[in-house]
């Protein structure tokens, strides 16, 4: 059998803002790199000074690869870039105080390696492996209730990187093993089904998709069928108004075999 990763690509990538009146305020950032077989998604936290910029820097840097053994240095470079791009001299008193509170964002990076799919996940942005039959893998969360927790996010504050959580995160990246506690690394075998897809979603979509009730299958089917920005916008609006999905920036990346070739 040929290497399946060579046939996989982004089937869709898009985002719907939480407030349609302010689309420029969308704090989710994403990037797909089919050539590098790398897909990155970051969700900037709402109550942050400039999580939009922070998420953008994380995604930009991660799309060149995340060096697992030098992650602390990688993160320092991202913070330095964030500080460089923040014009501190022009801040008002409230912006100065908000800047000091830091910016926070999740980071999800999916790499299609030769032997397996590698997922690095920090925070509550989730990757799932699924087909029409159901969800077979999900990381770092597998239950909708887990989204009630306060997630550990990447911060622009250096002081946040001396915590026990962060030390465990570094260790698990260096070891190359998934850590239950820090929940940052998973590896999945490629599924045998050509119809399988990796779904990357930010928290509101993830919480909605992982709900276990009589509509679970319909939700999955709806997500798997998205191929245009308009379809995603319709799905999100309907889920918000009819199915209790939390109003938040909602982003989706679908990775799988190209629709035209998956059944040949």
């Amino acid at each position: 059998m040929s290497n399946p990763s060579k046939r996989w690509r982004a089937l869709f990538a898009g985002s719907v803002p939480k407030d349609s009146a302010y689309p420029e305020s969308n704090e989710d950032k994403l990037r797909t790199c089919d050539d590098a077989r790398l897909y990155v998604l970051s969700d900037g936290a709402s109550e942050s000074f400039n999580s939009q910029l922070w998420a953008e820097i994380l995604v930009q840097q991660a799309s060149s690869g995340i060096p697992r053994t030098r992650f602390a240095r990688w993160l320092k470079q991202a913070i330095a870039q964030y500080e460089e791009r923040s014009d501190l001299a022009r801040l008002s008193w409230s912006q100065e105080a908000a800047f000091a509170r830091g910016s926070f964002a999740s980071l999800l990076a999916v790499s299609l390696l030769d032997d397996n799919i590698e997922v690095i996940a920090i925070g509550d942005t989730v990757a799932l492996l699924a087909s029409d039959d159901g969800i077979s893998r999900s990381f770092p969360y597998s239950e909708s209730e887990q989204f009630q927790q306060r997630p550990h996010l990447l911060s622009t504050l250096r002081s946040r990187h001396s915590t026990q959580f962060f030390r465990e995160l570094l260790r698990s990246l260096i070891d190359g093993r998934g850590s239950q506690k820090s929940g940052c690394l998973a590896r999945w075998h490629y599924p045998s089904s050509h119809a399988s897809v990796v779904i990357c979603v930010t928290d509101a979509l993830g919480e909605w998709l992982l709900r276990k009730d009589e509509r679970s299958h319909d939700r999955l089917k709806a997500i798997l069928g998205v191929r245009t920005q308009e379809q995603l916008a319709d799905l999100v609006e309907k889920a918000r108004s009819e199915d209790g999905m939390r109003r938040d920036d909602s982003s989706l990346i679908l990775i799988g075999e190209d629709d035209d070739t998956s059944h040949t």
């Binding site: 407030d19 109550e47 912006q95 105080a97 990187h161």
Partner: protein, 277 residues
């Protein structure tokens, strides 16, 4: 379900602080500050926090309208000074731009290496302490009701306004119960206006905070303020429990003879809105 409207720039909510500035507010607390000084300090910090939480790189987002109404020997008037004194309620960005002055303070912060370091921070002041005369509580609540009617009329889809009323004494212009009851019937489509009453005391004790019923309250005045206070909105139950308070949805958002720590918690929990957009 009430109290579930999301708070956004196109759908802001409002906080109105109603502050007793009667003569008895000059009594000193264990810290050496007067009650008026301490309440002014907590109020300024609360406004500061509301602004900081809503400040992004592109400016302050108007998630809230803020108002301060003060009452005492000089009657009832806006508690804001300077250019904000012309009105009671203002959008958050206007409050941010118009403090009376910006003081500097020192606070200890994490140095990132396991230690603490002193850092100078700017501390804006909007509200100065005052204390004189009587306690025209009824007139203050009447003016609050008018402000809420106007606000709710123009924000019918918003999370309803929250009134945080701080007093250390009894009304000197009549019985406030009827007007307080009427005030809690003013509503948006998301629910009735919330009236949180905080009776403060100069002692070090925690007093009685968030009681479930009148039966454990010590006197007629505390029972009156209990009846004048709103029940806990469901989403504030957990933040109160997280701070160690025994609270259920039956509890009233009310504190009696509350000291320093309780005053800070009361403001903190009372201004937790649901998630900001």
């Amino acid at each position: 379900m009430p109290y579930t409207a999301e708070i956004s720039r196109s759908q802001p909510t409002a906080f109105l602080f109603v502050i007793d500035q009667s003569g008895s507010m000059d009594e000193r607390m264990p810290s050496g500050k007067t009650k008026a000084d301490f309440v002014a300090d907590v109020l300024n910090k609360t406004i500061y926090q509301l602004i900081i939480r809503s400040t992004k790189a592109d400016g302050v987002r108007n998630y809230f309208d803020l108002g301060v109404l003060a009452y005492g020997g000089n009657g009832v008037s806006s508690g804001f000074g300077g250019s904000l004194a012309t009105g009671v309620m203002h959008p958050l960005s206007a409050v941010e731009q118009n403090p009376l002055r910006i003081d500097t303070r020192t606070k200890r912060v994490d140095d990132g290496a396991g230690g603490l370091v002193d850092q100078t921070v700017k501390f804006p002041v909007w509200f100065d302490p005052k204390s004189s005369g009587g306690t025209p509580m009824c007139e203050a609540l009447r003016q609050v009701a008018q402000l809420l009617v106007d606000w709710c009329n123009s924000h019918d889809r918003s999370y309803p306004p929250t009134v945080i009323h701080v007093t250390d004494g009894q009304s000197t212009d009549g019985d406030p119960e009827q007007i307080a009851t009427q005030l809690q019937q003013i509503s948006t489509n998301d629910g009735a206006a919330l009236l949180f009453n905080l009776h403060i005391d100069a002692s070090e004790g925690t007093g009685l905070i968030f009681p479930n019923n009148e039966s454990g309250l010590p006197d007629t005045h505390s029972k009156l303020l209990f009846r004048c206070s709103s029940q806990f909105p469901p989403h504030l139950v957990k933040p109160a429990q997280d701070k160690g308070y025994s609270v259920s949805s039956e509890s009233r958002f009310f504190g009696y003879r509350v000291g320093i720590e309780g005053i800070v918690d009361f403001f903190d929990i009372g201004t937790r809105a649901s998630e900001l957009r």
